[in-house]
């Protein structure tokens, strides 16, 4: 563990990413304390520019809502959707890939055809169709993002299991009389964890981008303030008040960048041999 932390912190980008992410997480967690009022509430006259009025550091939007409050509350949606949809994607992709790699043959063929099918469909278009038809709510958005993001997980896990299933420790477990399920989920999968963790951290980043794109198109949960919605709502006034679109975009950019940096740091720390090859 110490070794891991040491290797992770040697990567300056990863440290920067971790720092940004901690700030975003703190803002999201303490949003109800920092801005107890609803971010939808009109609090001042519209179009206050940033840094011009005390108490409204980032100004107000087209309807006089506090931009800073929206930003802080929006962090919650981004993080929750990013995390939960990644977890759901892992719950679909890991077992599917593991079973395909472990059993091979017909199971493998079937599972991989299924995965290939989902990989062929343009994933943003599928997410749009799913959310539009099932009505945009937090659960449907999360589910739609999970549905379009699991295929790479299944492929990765399958490849890892394939490379591990004939190793000696698996033979040993089999000789010890363990069941197939115990061997697969108790012995093989734990050894495939590092690449899965790296992929998961990058998936959270992609999920946040997907969520913001959906809510930008008006497919966000209508009751929840999100960064994508803020940009979409400010789009019509982009000529006069470009900063209303600019500020939430920077928030998305920083959060996604932080997660990507952390992903690279994890990759270096967990797969030290690969890292030295210079990627």
């Amino acid at each position: 563990m110490m070794d891991f932390l040491k290797r992770f912190s040697r990567n300056k980008g990863a440290l920067l990413g971790a720092l940004i992410l901690i700030v975003v997480v703190l803002l999201a967690v303490f949003a109800p304390l920092i801005y107890p009022d609803s971010p939808w509430k009109m609090v001042q006259r519209p179009f206050l520019t940033p840094f011009s009025t005390d108490g409204f550091p980032l100004g107000t939007d087209t309807l006089g809502r506090d931009v800073a409050a929206g930003l802080v509350h929006g962090a919650r949606v981004s993080l929750i959707v990013g995390l939960v949809s990644t977890l759901v994607a892992l719950l679909i992709g890991v077992p599917l890939g593991a079973l395909a790699g472990f059993y091979g043959g017909l199971v493998d063929d079937g599972a991989m055809r299924f995965t290939e099918f989902f990989q062929t469909i343009p994933n943003f278009a599928l997410a749009i169709v799913l959310v539009a038809i099932l009505e945009p709510t937090l659960p449907t958005i999360t589910l739609a993002i999970a549905i379009v993001s699991w295929p790479p997980v299944a492929r990765l896990v399958r490849a890892e299991v394939l490379s591990l299933r004939n190793r000696e420790f698996v033979d040993a477990a089999r000789l010890a009389g363990l069941s197939n399920m115990r061997i697969l989920f108790g012995h093989i999968l734990p050894n495939a964890m590092s690449p899965i963790i790296v992929m998961a951290s990058l998936m959270v980043a992609t999920a946040i981008l997907l969520e913001s794109s959906l809510s930008f198109l008006g497919l966000g949960d209508p009751n929840i303030m999100s960064w994508g919605y803020m940009i979409g709502a400010a789009r019509t006034v982009i000529r006069n008040a470009w900063w209303l679109s600019f500020i939430p975009g920077v928030a998305i950019l920083l959060t996604v960048l932080a997660l990507n940096l952390i992903g690279e740091g994890l990759n270096d720390a967990l797969n030290p041999r690969l890292a030295r090859k210079g990627r």
Partner: protein, 321 residues
């Protein structure tokens, strides 16, 4: 295995995939909350009970599900994608009308991002570990994390509103009456910002792939052998490393290109580019589900066609297959 056989098997696979998407579409219509007839008519537009009853009879929605299923699937197979009550036009005509604009945008963005990605990826790999390498990879990382729609909006602010270099939206200057060369220049000026912003993210992807692929190939044994034979370093780079490193990049790029069609929804919406992505956005806000699902099917077909073409190009370039 001949090339004809390869094409045939790919086409058969494509047909099966498209059929599965049609089936998925059917179930999505029925999964939508509310009456499928109301859904098809577009909820906001047709509250009229009589109209919905007429629709129900017309689409056989009073029939058992398997009959409806057969009617729907056989309709789509005969290229009947339904009728858009919003636009008062068959969905297929709507899509065919918009398809050229999307093809122009996505293909331009694809080749632009592939070219820039490879050039900068090679530049980064040649400076591995030095200042130039970290500058290029950092910028790529930044593009990789930037929301597509946001970068499009910011490009409008900077290049159209502030600097006035490029038009902010549209497919061409309305009513300018350009012909010939002028028309081409006008179209290119309108195309530039949408293609650039759509391509930025993919440029970052291709750049990273090129860089890592070049670095990987440079360490392979045949490169060491070539060096040991005393070959000129430039010859090694061009004939040995470049050729072998770029093949996987081009293939992966072709497979990734499908995502361009999804990204086009965002770019076309921001730039009011009259393609099928914009059509998807319009049908979304109008709750015109027939059109929405039609665009979805066609965009999947575009991705499949793109993958098949990539596959064929790969077969032509790589002598081992």
């Amino acid at each position: 295995m001949g090339i004809a056989w390869a094409i045939l098997s790919r086409l058969a696979k494509a047909a099966i995939t498209l059929l599965l998407i049609v089936i998925l579409n059917f179930f999505l219509i029925h999964a939508a909350p509310g009456d499928p007839a109301a859904v098809m008519a577009g909820e906001a537009g047709a509250a009229d009970e009589k109209f919905i009853a007429q629709l129900r009879a017309q689409f056989g929605l009073d029939q058992p599900l398997y009959v409806q299923f057969w009617t729907y699937v056989s309709g789509v197979v005969q290229l009947d994608l339904g009728y858009s009550y919003r636009q008062q036009m068959p969905v297929l005509d709507l899509i065919l009308d918009r398809l050229p604009a999307t093809l122009l945008l996505t293909l331009t963005a694809f080749f632009m991002s592939l070219l820039l990605g490879i050039v900068f990826g090679l530049a980064a790999a040649a400076r591995q570990g030095r200042w130039g390498d970290s500058a290029i990879t950092s910028v790529a990382l930044l593009f990789y994390a930037t929301p597509l729609f946001w970068v499009a909006l910011m490009a409008v602010v900077l290049f159209s509103v502030k600097l006035g270099w490029f038009p902010a939206f549209g497919y061409g200057s309305v009513g300018a009456g350009y012909t010939g060369f002028e028309l081409l220049i006008d179209r290119l000026r309108h195309l530039f910002l949408p293609a650039l912003t759509l391509g930025l993210f993919f440029m970052a992807v291709y750049l990273r792939m090129t860089r890592s692929s070049v670095l990987e190939v440079s360490q392979m044994d045949f490169v060491k052998t070539a060096r040991a034979k005393g070959l000129n370093e430039r010859v090694i780079r061009r004939r040995h490393i470049l050729r072998n490193a770029l093949l996987p990049v081009v293939t992966l790029a072709g497979l990734q290109a499908g995502q361009l069609v999804g990204g086009a929804v965002l770019t076309e919406t921001v730039f009011a580019w009259p393609g099928i992505g914009r059509l998807m956005f319009e049908s979304l806000t109008a709750r015109d589900y027939n059109t929405l699902l039609g665009v979805f099917l066609v965009s999947a077909a575009m991705v499949i066609a793109f993958n098949i073409i990539t596959d064929l190009v790969y077969r032509l370039i790589d002598p081992r297959i």
